[in-house]
């Protein structure tokens, strides 16, 4: 079976990989590129654990065919911290105990980043709806929402 050659900017690096046409971007990221931060919780776009940014837009990587990523700029959770410094969302998730098992955390961080990039001062309701595509079974969301509120505050005050 012939494989398709894909070039994309992933977490700031020019990256090339080969993929079959029917492979999801999620599987390509995990198996071909070696970035296992995005998780598969459902494979059908219902849980948000594979959320990544594709050209600044939060997307379930399981719903995108890998060849569609050709030429795109992709950010995964591995690219969220810059030069070793945590993004305020990462820091606030840690300080606010906004994770228990942590499997959903990469997806929540990416979805929350997409929210704060477009709305630096969201209400609690706006945060809850922006993150409604991301399932967490451990926390009941309380501490996640508070961590996003705190991160938004810190980003605004910077």
């Amino acid at each position: 079976m012939s494989r398709t050659h894909i070039s994309a900017v992933i977490n700031g690096d020019e990256t090339e990989f080969l993929t079959e046409d029917g492979t999801s971007l999620l599987n390509a990221l995990r198996d071909e590129v070696g970035l296992t931060g995005a998780k598969e919780g459902c494979g059908t776009g219902d849980c948000g654990s594979c959320s990544v940014l594709i050209d600044d837009r939060v997307t379930c990587a399981c719903l995108v065919f890998a060849p569609e990523a050709d030429g795109a700029t992709i950010v995964t959770v591995e690219g969220l911290a810059t030069s070793g410094e945590l993004h305020p969302l990462q820091q606030c998730f840690l300080e606010g105990a906004a994770l228990q098992c942590g499997i959903c955390t990469p997806g929540f961080l990416m979805a929350a980043k997409a929210l704060l990039d477009r709305n630096p001062d969201p209400t609690e309701t706006e945060i809850r709806y922006a993150l409604a595509g991301n399932l967490c079974r451990c926390t009941g969301y309380d501490k996640i929402i508070r961590a996003v509120q705190e991160a938004a505050r810190e980003i605004r005050e910077k």
């Binding site: 970035l35 296992t36 059908t44 840690l94 994770l99 098992c101 499997i103 959903c104 991301n134």
Partner: protein, 750 residues
């Protein structure tokens, strides 16, 4: 400030530092079950039954074996026949649930498995395994399974717990019974008697990470296994049993686990992965799809429960009669036993009969789910208690206070309670501002309470002192919700060194002593006690080394804030770092092991307060405010105690309002996805207010009780009672979905 029970003077216990494993989890580095890849690794795929109940007539694997990239195909015939070997019935059930032999018992039951070079090749080969079935009639509910003449899942199932034993087999695996006093007399003394019947559906634990296992078997019979589970020693034991090998031949390494809630205390993929790896001679990875998780793992039981309770006009409960039937799924072992023990355990009731049945049916074998069995029973009992309070015009907290179990109460399931904190949780709710918050139109408030035993069981821990005076704390309890932080906090407290100087580690089955599963709310309690024991041994050793160094008797040396001090100050103190540096001259490396079988669990109680708003036009119920009060004994790590409380509540809200297994008439699950099996999302919920009650467990060095489970016991009745308060309908079926609430409102106005 004086050192008291409320202020024990701890430096680390009860603080909120950043968890030791946090950084890896916010940066994507943490390795969960599906994240491991080995050189030459194959991908596996499981073949599952499309039928709820069928004989396997034949399996032809030849076409699958001939497909490109396929390296191994296995069926039940590739595993030892434990039944023929005279194995224990429970082990036979584990083995045949892992892979069917002559008969499939539910849709999704494993029949075969394949391994191939790519995922796609494995999927294609799985479809090419040819299986001929003879479909049998099936039973899906306790009603169907208990009916006269029902098709039988197991021809030899004679109900246990009935004397004399029945002559004929049935789908009833066992009966449980608890009784005390005289029911007729008790109901005769009551001024109000309420009798209701309830039904609940199977619900899934809903962990976000699907099951995953990677096996690398060697030709000498040994194998390495990496898997995401709640207990890698348990995985080793089950896997060895199913494969018919010594546990010592299998090394299991715990991956980070993406949620379990009881559902990852059992095996599914592990023996299949090992056998495929043995056959193929290469490492094999098996990962479930989400629909496989729903069809073939978990869930917890669907139930039918009848409750009759009576109370006098001053609210004293005089009698309770509870009848319950719990679906076990395909094999004996529903949590009806725990349900029977917990159902009325919150209360001191002089006359009762609690009767329960464990019933098999053609659905996936149930697995533990957070306080297994208790939430359904509590939904029924706490709804009836609410109705009694309404009939008698008594405040819902006051009726519970009037009957609350306290220290010395003979629990309904037998023993006398030691010191417990149920009353304190009731008072915490009553004293909270939420209790008097004004309600608007179509809004209502509900109270509910719950009990869970908490477990102890076996744990081991090792503490190593590094050469610079920092410490490594090694346990074998997979950390599912922050327990490494609890271990580090307790070790810091014991050793007197900073939390940051301690590295807590979850080690593999060859690197640390045996640990039972991460379940039963036991890790901070039991594994924590092992860590405390090991730290105390280390401190004893350190004092002895200081005494030697100073040439004084041991009793002249105290351990204070991380350093050895001479009681008269006759010597300059020796810090842990000083002693570690000189360890070569004082007896060698400093380290200690401790192993224990729990020294006393501490019962857990939770009382919860739920405010809802019901839309009378649509029947949609929205939780607008929620408060949970829970006795933690001692909150070692308050952030993660709150996390357990909030998480339990929200799972309960999902169970109350949305979640259910839906099967078609053929016994095929119709909603095996997170789209159709709808767990709560952020926009469904308010903040979940927490009140941590601390009534220390006298049997634990820090008073820990365990907090993981009891939080899921009260929510269903709390929501149901709030709906009743809002729109005056008594909901007796879960989930209380919009259509059911709307029907109830419509029936009531007819």
């Amino acid at each position: 400030m004086a050192i008291t029970e409320e202020n024990p003077g701890y430096k680390w216990v009860g603080t909120r530092p950043i968890r030791p494993d946090g950084l890896e989890k916010v940066t994507g580095k943490a390795r969960f079950g599906a994240d491991l890849a080995l050189p030459g690794m194959l991908h596996g795929k499981v073949v599952r039954s499309p039928h709820a109940h069928a004989e396997i007539v034949s399996i032809d694997t030849s076409a699958a074996e001939a497909m490109p990239g396929v390296k191994a195909v296995i069926t039940g015939a590739d595993f030892p026949d434990l039944a023929a070997n005279g194995a224990h019935a429970g082990d036979i059930d584990v083995a045949t649930n892992t892979i069917a032999r002559d008969k499939v018992l539910y849709e999704g039951h494993v029949v075969a498995a394949v391994a191939a070079i790519t995922r796609e090749q494995a999927e294609a080969a799985a479809k090419a395994v040819e299986i001929t079935y003879e479909v049998l009639p099936h039973v899906l509910t306790v009603d169907e399974a208990m009916a006269d003449g029902a098709p039988l899942l197991h021809d030899g199932m004679i109900t246990k717990g009935v004397d004399p034993a029945p002559e004929d087999p049935s789908n009833i695996a066992s009966k449980i019974l608890h009784e005390r006093g005289d029911l007729d007399q008790g109901f005769g003394e009551a001024d109000s008697v309420v009798e209701r019947e309830f039904t609940t559906k199977p619900v899934h634990q809903g962990y976000i990470e699907p099951h995953a296992a990677v096996a690398d078997a060697n030709s000498d019979g040994r194998a390495n296994l990496w898997c995401s589970s709640q207990g890698h020693f348990q995985m080793r034991a089950y896997t060895a049993t199913v494969l018919g090998v010594s546990p010592g031949n299998i090394k299991v390494t715990a991956a980070e686990i993406g949620g379990g809630f009881g559902g990852k205390t059992v095996i599914y993929l592990e023996p299949l992965a090992v056998r495929l790896s043995q056959r193929a001679g290469r490492p094999v990875k098996l990962v479930m799809d989400r629909d496989e998780v729903f069809r073939a793992t978990g869930p917890t039981s669907g139930t039918r429960i009848k409750v009759k309770m009576g109370a006098t006009k001053d609210g004293k409960m005089t009698a309770a009669e509870v009848w319950m039937a719990y679906e076990a799924g395909a094999y004996a072992g529903s949590p009806v036993g725990a349900a029977g023990m917990t159902a009325i355990a919150c209360y001191d009731i002089p006359n009762f009969v609690v009767e329960g049945y464990d019933v098999v049916c053609n659905k996936p074998r149930v697995a533990a789910y957070r306080a297994p069995g208790a939430p359904m029973a509590a939904f029924a009992v706490e709804s009836v208690v609410d109705e009694l309070a309404r009939n008698l015009e008594i405040d819902p907290i006051d009726i519970r206070l009037a009957n609350a179990a306290v220290e010395g109460t003979q629990a309904s399931y037998g023993p006398k309670f030691p010191r417990i904190g149920f009353v304190e949780t009731l008072e915490a709710i009553k004293d909270h501002p939420n209790y008097s918050e004004e309600l608007g139109p179509n809004q209502g408030r509900g109270v509910s309470a719950g009990f869970w035993f908490n477990a102890g069981m076996m744990s081991s821990a090792t503490v190593h002192i590094n050469e610079n005076g920092t410490a490594t704390v090694v346990t074998g309890s997979p950390d599912i919700g922050g327990s490494r932080q609890s271990m580090a906090l307790m070790a810091a407290e014991e050793l007197g060194i900073p939390y940051e100087s301690i590295k807590p580690v979850v080690a593999d089955t060859e690197t640390v002593g045996f640990n039972d599963v991460t379940g039963g709310s036991r890790v901070t309690l039991a594994t924590g006690a092992a860590v405390v024991d090991a730290c105390r041994l280390v401190v004893e050793d350190l004092r002895s080394r200081a005494a030697k160094t100073w040439d004084v008797e041991l009793d002249q040396v105290e351990w204070v804030e991380g350093q050895a001090q001479h009681i008269d100050g006759a010597q300059p103190p020796l810090s842990l770092g000083d002693l570690a540096k000189k360890s070569g001259r004082t007896g060698g490396p400093i380290s200690a092991n401790a192993s224990l079988n729990s020294r006393g669990v501490g019962a857990g109680f939770s009382t919860q307060l739920c405010d809802v708003e019901v839309d009378p036009e649509t029947g949609v119920t929205r939780v607008i405010r929620y408060l949970t009060a829970q006795d933690a004994g001692r909150a070692i790590s308050p952030d993660y105690v709150e996390g357990q409380m909030q998480g339990g509540v929200v799972q309960g809200i999902g169970w109350a309002l949305n979640e259910e297994y839906i099967h078609d008439t053929d016994g095929v699950m119709e909603n095996p996805s997170f789209l159709d099996y709808r767990i709560p999302v952020a926009s469904d919920l308010p903040m979940i207010d927490c009140s941590i009650v601390e009534v220390p467990n006298p049997a634990h060095p820090y008073g820990v009780r365990g907090v993981g489970e009891v939080g899921i016991v009260p929510p269903m009745a709390a929501v149901g009672n709030a709906i009743n308060d809002a729109v005056d309908v008594r909901m007796t079926e879960l989930p209380m979905s919009p259509i059911k609430v709307l029907e109830a409102i419509t029936d009531q106005s007819d």
